[in-house]
């Protein structure tokens, strides 16, 4: 996977989540981007059950199990500021077996769904982030496919994002500075989504009706 930047697009003043997504996708189509199907990134939260905490002598940890439609056979499991495990789809079956030790906080399940656009060497995914029935925000994922070293193409990515995100172009993701010259991997994208989802969960509910 090429270097990817995942960020949040704030909802436009006076508009709904769906309307803002439409404005963004219209800008992309005017630029010449081609629609190429849909995408979905979801995230489930597990916390260590009370029964295991006593022996650990530490606060319960949160583990996130994520899926990305771009990698349909894989499952990503991460701890905040911790390692990210990339496993195959059977990892979900294992989490069912572990339900005595890790409880699934079903109400915390969050996902981003939307359209995939290709523009030359860029892949852009604009998604509506939903938690349950309500739309909570907008995620924008931009990938520059040919490059796998984060710091080598940040300027190019930023310039491209400015062409359709304008002032809402994000700054350099904090994880890029940790990468130095190491190869970018899908786990890094999932870590960015995890940060984004956590930020959105903490934000107040967007005061508009849920999308259909």
């Amino acid at each position: 996977m090429g270097v990817t930047c995942v960020s949040q697009m704030p909802v436009a003043e006076g508009k709904s989540v769906q309307q803002t997504v439409e404005i963004l996708t219209r800008k992309l189509e005017l630029l010449g981007a081609e629609k190429q199907g849909t995408f979905c990134v979801d995230c489930e939260t597990y916390h260590t059950a009370a029964s295991t905490m006593g022996n650990q002598g530490q606060a319960g940890k949160l583990m996130y199990v994520m899926h990305n439609s771009e990698y349909p056979l894989s499952c990503f499991a991460l701890f905040e500021n911790g390692p990210c495990l990339i496993a195959d789809a059977n990892f979900d079956v294992l989490m069912v077996k572990l339900k005595g030790f890790f409880q699934n906080a079903k109400a915390n399940k969050i996902e981003s769904r939307g359209t995939r656009y290709q523009y030359c060497d860029f892949l852009v995914k604009v998604g509506t982030v939903t938690m349950g029935p309500s739309a909570r925000g907008i995620s924008v994922e931009v990938e520059y496919c040919p490059c796998v070293v984060a710091n080598d193409c940040w300027n190019l990515l930023m310039e491209f994002m400015q062409s359709f995100m304008g002032n809402h172009t994000p700054g350099i993701p904090s994880m890029f500075s940790n990468k130095h010259d190491s190869i970018y991997s899908p786990g890094d994208t999932m870590a960015q989504y995890m940060e984004l989802f956590n930020k959105i969960r903490k934000q107040q509910q967007v005061p508009v009706a849920g999308i259909r």
Binding site: G82, V96, F101
Partner: protein
């Protein structure tokens, strides 16, 4: 012939529970070559395949009586292969006539940071060993003949010593639940290996 009903176990999360059917036996070192010779004849024609694996067994202790066991295995001689995480359930105590040991199994391929991740989840390593041997296939049956080595210095796979003067022989099949005909096929194959090795259903609890 109609296929038997695929599930007799509950289907959870949209996936079907897979079961491992297992028969085990052992041969002394001096009998290894004759066993390998017979296996080469009986099994599917393929390049002789050897393996050198490092397996670590992790436990997660909770308030339940028995800890949760996970096995993490990586290849020491083949680079670039994923790590293999395996969960094995308790053997099914059912049909005494069933010829093989049957237990639920979940196999997961993972990235290389598996041990760090398991520690983060709260697992602790209980023991580790090195397995070196040969693997054969016959249809869906897998036959493994290997020697277990004790690791003298934890984490250092260079200094190892054999645990015994014999090789462990395992005949296994991973199939969806309810396919009991599998254990009949396994028993028939095991017959062909006698008297070089006697493969039987060994209940791990009886050894403890």
């Amino acid at each position: 012939m109609e296929a038997p009903p695929v599930t007799m176990m509950p289907v959870t999360g949209g996936t079907i529970n897979m079961m491992e059917y297992l028969l085990q036996g052992s041969v002394l070192d001096q009998s290894l070559e004759s066993l390998l010779h017979r296996l080469r004849g009986l099994c599917d024609n393929m390049e002789p395949e050897t393996f050198l694996d490092h397996e670590m067994v992790f436990l997660l202790k909770g308030q339940q009586a028995s800890p949760f066991v996970l096995r993490a295995r990586c290849s020491m001689d083949k680079t670039g292969t994923p790590w293999h995480l395996r969960y094995l359930g308790q053997p099914e105590m059912g049909d005494k006539n069933r010829h093989a040991l049957v237990r639920n199994c979940v196999d997961i391929a993972t990235s290389e940071n598996l041990t760090d991740f398991l520690m983060e989840m709260g697992f602790r390593m209980d023991h580790e060993f090195v397995a070196k041997g040969h693997v054969f296939r016959k249809g869906i049956m897998k036959i493994v003949v290997y020697k277990i080595f004790r690791i003298l210095v934890p984490g250092n796979t260079d200094s190892i010593e054999p645990l015994s003067l014999s090789y462990l022989v395992e005949l296994s099949v991973v199939a969806p639940a309810g396919q009991d005909v599998v254990s009949d096929d396994m028993r028939n194959f095991a017959e062909q290996l006698k008297p070089l090795v006697h493969l039987e259903k060994i209940d791990p609890k009886r050894l403890m």
